[in-house]
């Protein structure tokens, strides 16, 4: 009874929260779904690509621009762009490096699927603990690791003040939420156009459908794969940036784990390999998660994504929009 | 249902996305015959095999094996798709066009995997080496050896399957399929890549298998093999059945000649099937 009461009470609030969170899941889910479409690989280290972005954001905001209190106007715009762009690029480059170092050697050998997954999870653990060790006290051989992360979360300074822009169904819609949803929408739109209209995008779709045929048609598979990882990394980078703004997440070595699993669940929910599916799945999962937290209590919030994942696998394994990148 | 039919396929349709690989094909196989299924490249023969063995599910249509629907039971929500292993257990064995042996197992281990199809020992039997387990292991070993002798490659029993010659791998595959105690054996281009002597020995083997009371459905490119040993032949082209009947009859069918001398013959190249 509590459940229905709470849901009815907080419906619009939670819908709003869900859409904000869902936009971030959607951005991460894209990286999973595109890599899965092209390589049939769950890139477990993708959550670390996302995690690294929270650190890039932290350093850009706190150390390069010396932001301590909320700012406004031109400076705000400059800081936002000055943090978002490096976050995206560094994450994109990291994703490409991962492909180069952890997956490509296996691909060359034609290793079994299991090897890829194991390599991916190993890479994920490696990156996480590299950040734990980067506290200025640890060495790798003769090299002292810089003090940029460490085992504890570090708060990212608040960029700008939250203010309510308008009310809708009795809910405050704040500037931060609007920004995230709009930014996510724009990026997803650009990506969708990229995959549908450009040569490289068509290459991605061709490889996803049939790698052998694609390579015979002159598609450079390596280039397609690198592009896929880079684009996925960029999206995760942006997601990491926004994640420090609305849920106000800290920069933390373990921050990628839960959003990572949830984003993968979102990708499966929408139909793995399907770009529009990842967007839809992300939003839907965000909403389901916040609504169910109203129902069952917030301590169960992290269980929702998992339950959704298992239910989807049971009843509609191809997801809502069906599989594959090409449509 | 005809009295002596072991398998009846009724209006089978299979679509992959927009592509229709099998269009409304019906096929009857009589008990004890050697039935041929031929057609040019991409005609849908292997797809049809995969439908019969449950690897693919048909878009529409059904298939009766010994009068029972083997593709699914019930309808609507209660429908249960039959899995390949259920179909194998009910008595359909098969080989693959591009040999799919377990490369890192020996020949005899490959065949023993086939004999396991009807074994019932479970995890506990295996751990505690129960009488049932020991009986079945012994029986499997002996039967696998008999089957290897039957197909004539007993001397390679302990060689890794991946190290055998092409023709011998084909024989191991047939042996593995026979080990599952099939009533109907599906052979997917068993003669591909064999020289004339090997082909002759294969023909003899197929007839020998039939004499054991096993019905055979044979996909083959080599018309000579088909014409020599098949009792009846069906022809697929572009997923449709264009002819069905005795080999000589089919050979004279103008549609068949056109299918073979048209695009299909050109892509397949000459060589093995020059006699078509």
């Amino acid at each position: 009874m509590d459940c229905l009461h709470n849901v009815a009470d907080q419906f619009w609030d939670q819908l709003r929260n869900g859409l904000t969170l869902g936009s971030i899941y959607a951005m991460i889910a894209l990286g999973y779904t595109m890599v899965y479409g092209v390589l049939q690989l769950i890139n477990f280290a993708h959550s670390e690509v996302f995690m690294v972005s929270t650190f890039t954001t932290l350093y850009a905001v706190r150390d390069w621009f010396n932001v301590t209190a909320p700012i406004t106007g031109g400076k705000l715009l400059m800081v936002m762009v000055g943090a978002l762009i490096p976050a995206m690029i560094i994450s994109g480059v990291l994703a490409v490096l991962l492909e180069r170092l952890a997956y490509r050697p296996l691909r060359r050998r034609g290793a079994p699927r299991l090897s890829f997954l194991i390599s991916a999870i190993g890479a994920s653990l490696f990156i996480q603990y590299l950040f734990v060790l980067m506290d200025g006290l640890h060495y790798i051989g003769p090299i002292k690791l810089p003090a940029i992360a460490g085992p504890n979360p570090q708060a990212v300074p608040e960029l700008f003040k939250t203010s309510t822009v308008f009310h809708l169904f009795g809910t405050d819609i704040t500037n931060k939420r609007i920004m995230i949803v709009v930014a996510a929408g724009v990026m997803l739109f650009i990506l969708d156009r990229f995959v549908r209209l450009t040569r490289l995008g068509r290459g991605i779709r061709a490889v996803a459908q049939d790698p052998e045929a694609a390579s015979m048609m002159g598609v450079n598979i390596d280039k397609v794969i690198v592009t896929t990882f880079f684009v996925g990394g960029i999206m995760a980078g942006a997601a990491g940036f926004f994640y420090t703004i609305v849920p106000g997440a800290p920069a933390f070595w373990f921050v990628g784990f839960l959003p990572g699993i949830k984003a993968f669940a979102a990708a499966v929910l929408g139909g793995i390999g399907n770009i529009r599916g990842a967007m839809l799945g992300g939003l839907l999962l965000g909403v389901v998660e916040t609504q169910s937290s109203a129902c069952f209590g917030t301590q169960w919030v992290n269980v929702t994504a998992f339950v959704v994942l298992v239910l989807v696998l049971l009843f509609k394994p191809t997801g809502i929009l069906g599989e594959q990148v090409a449509s | 249902m005809t009295e002596d039919a072991i398998l009846e396929a009724k209006s089978i349709v299979k679509q992959f996305g927009g592509l229709t690989a099998v269009k409304d094909v019906s096929l009857t196989i009589r008990r004890g015959e050697i039935r041929g299924l031929i057609g040019p490249n991409g005609a849908g023969k292997t797809t049809f095999f995969n439908l019969m063995t449950g690897i693919y599910a048909p878009t529409t249509g059904n298939m009766l094996f010994e009068g029972k629907d083997i593709l699914g039971t019930g309808s609507g929500l209660l429908q249960r798709k039959r899995k390949p292993y259920d179909i194998t257990k009910s008595g359909i064995g098969r080989t693959f066009q591009n040999i799919r042996l377990f490369q890192n197992m020996t020949s005899i281990e490959n065949v023993i995997v086939g004999t396991d199809a009807h074994h019932r020992a479970n995890v506990f039997d295996a751990i505690f080496r129960s009488p049932r387990f020991r009986r079945e292991e012994k029986e499997g070993q002996e039967r696998a050896e008999r089957i290897l002798t039957f197909v004539g490659i007993h001397k390679y029993a302990n060689e890794l399957a991946g190290n055998l010659s092409y023709g011998d791998q084909r024989r191991v595959e047939i042996a593995r399929a026979l080990a599952t105690r099939p009533k109907l054996l599906l052979l997917d281009e068993p003669a591909a890549g064999m020289n004339p002597t090997e082909k002759q020995r294969l023909n003899a083997l197929i007839s020998k298998i039939r004499d054991e009371g096993i019905t055979i459905l044979l996909i083959e490119h080599d018309m000579k093999v088909v014409m020599t040993i098949c009792d009846r032949v069906a022809v697929l082209d572009h997923g449709e059945k264009i002819a069905d009947g005795a080999p000589q009859e089919v050979q004279r069918n103008p549609q068949v000649i056109e299918a073979y001398l048209g695009a299909g013959a050109a892509t397949h190249g000459g060589g093995a099937n020059a006699s078509a």
Partner: protein, 425 residues
């Protein structure tokens, strides 16, 4: 006339390189040359070494041959000798003067910890190595075993009741609770495995990853069942009183835990060997090598995968009971994702599909940080790195099984049975 399967193969044909990257090409040519020189030198070195060692290797080969010929009694004999050596390890420090690092590695509690993880690695090896399934939430079953012990022994009820009266004692119920945990963990494995194993194998990885986290959250949230974040204290140590035999296990450092776990490890090794040499083991090999062909030969894919998954789960459950018993206190943070990956690292480093590999891998992963205390912080970092390196350079592990080596090193075409397995085409 191959009909295109509805599955994209991840295998990639040799790609064409762009023509204009002369720098890259020159670099690659140089790299290939240096690689060739190095490998030639290495080959010469190996040849020389082999020649020098010829008398030793030939004698070893004869010895091996003799063992193989008499395996009926030679194998159990060797096993017995190894078990005896293992059982006597704790006395090493008493009987000989040994360096401090070896003392650290052979004290009772470290050995018990090693044996516990060997047990876990053996269980996970069945899942990953034999059946080729990736379970990233193995810690969940360890937690299930541990909590079963915590609840079934009455330790939790005692805690809830305000810890009045005598502490709960386990006494004769020990074996019953071991069995109970075995059953509970197996059921949990079946429950989790049956929806996911029908689908493509790689989904299992993420579902188990999530499951590991869920179990931790559940343990954290269900206060009245699991004690919540406070955990369960006062879990009794085991005791046996049969006839004249009275064995009472003491605190954490009691060496008897090591012997208990060693006994379980031996039991498990025997059981797993039995499974491996049976139709179940053959089915696992067949599934790993070619799922479609295996299904067509009557191998019930889902059931065989489930069996492996459940065996892995029950192993962790049993280990969990002993763990809870020995440590005496359990709480949710112990059962984190890193533990799952650590156990995976043991299996991967030792050699997937190899029993000896699981033992070597687990011992290495537990003992190396124990011996080199200063490296403890680097543990997860180093083992994450090791996993990747292993996959790239030595996928068969340190102590490979022959068959698995051929599969992992060679190119594979592990197409899965999507449609037949109930998914879509």
């Amino acid at each position: 006339m191959s009909d295109k399967p509805p599955v994209n193969q991840k295998q990639e044909p040799s790609s064409t390189r762009p023509q204009n990257q002369s720098l890259t090409r020159r670099y690659e040519a140089a790299r290939d040359r240096s690689k060739a020189t190095r490998s030639a030198a290495y080959a010469r070195f190996r040849k020389a070494v082999r020649k020098d060692l010829e008398p030793v290797t030939s004698r070893w080969r004869t010895f091996r041959g003799k063992i193989e010929d008499n395996r009926k009694w030679a194998y159990p004999l060797i096993g017995l000798i190894l078990i005896t050596i293992a059982a006597l390890l704790p006395f090493l420090g008493d009987w000989f003067s040994i360096p401090i690092w070896l003392q650290r590695a052979t004290n009772g509690s470290v050995l018990a910890r090693t044996a516990l993880f060997v047990l876990f690695a053996l269980g996970l090896n069945v899942v990953v190595g034999f059946a080729g399934l990736l379970d990233l939430g193995y810690v969940a079953f360890w937690a299930i075993g541990a909590y079963t012990a915590g609840i079934a022994t009455g330790a939790h009820a005692y805690l809830e009741g305000g810890s009045v009266g005598p502490e709960p004692t386990w006494h004769m119920w020990m074996w019953a609770i071991l069995l109970l945990a075995l059953v509970v963990a197996t059921l949990a494995g079946l429950l989790l495995g049956s929806p996911t194993l029908r689908l493509r194998g790689d989904y299992l990885a993420i579902v188990t990853l999530g499951f590991g986290e869920i179990i931790r959250i559940v343990a954290n949230n269900l206060d009245h069942v699991t004690g919540g974040p406070r955990g369960i204290r006062n879990i009794p140590h085991p005791e046996i009183h049969v006839g004249g035999l009275n064995v009472v296990w003491g605190t954490l450092i009691d060496t008897k835990y090591y012997w208990l776990l060693l006994g379980l490890v031996v039991l498990w090794i025997v059981a797993i060997r039995m499974l491996d040499n049976s139709r179940i083991g053959r089915a696992w090999v067949a599934i790993r090598e070619d799922e479609v062909a295996a299904a067509s030969m009557g191998v019930n894919i889902v059931r065989m995968k489930l069996a492996a998954f459940a065996i892995g789960a029950c192993t962790a459950g049993v280990g969990g009971v002993i763990y809870a018993e020995q440590i005496n206190f359990i709480s949710p943070p112990t059962f984190n994702i890193q533990q799952s990956i650590l156990i995976l690292a043991m299996v991967v480093i030792g050699g997937m599909g190899s029993i000896g590999g699981a033992i070597v891998g687990a011992s290495a992963v537990v003992l190396i940080p124990e011996v080199f205390k200063s490296l403890d912080d680097y543990r997860f970092f180093a083992f994450g790195f090791a996993i990747v390196l292993m996959m790239i350079f030595r996928p068969q592990g340190l102590l490979p099984s022959k068959r698995r080596k051929a599969e992992l090193v060679g190119a594979s075409q592990d197409q899965q049975l999507y449609e037949a397995a109930g998914g879509s085409g």
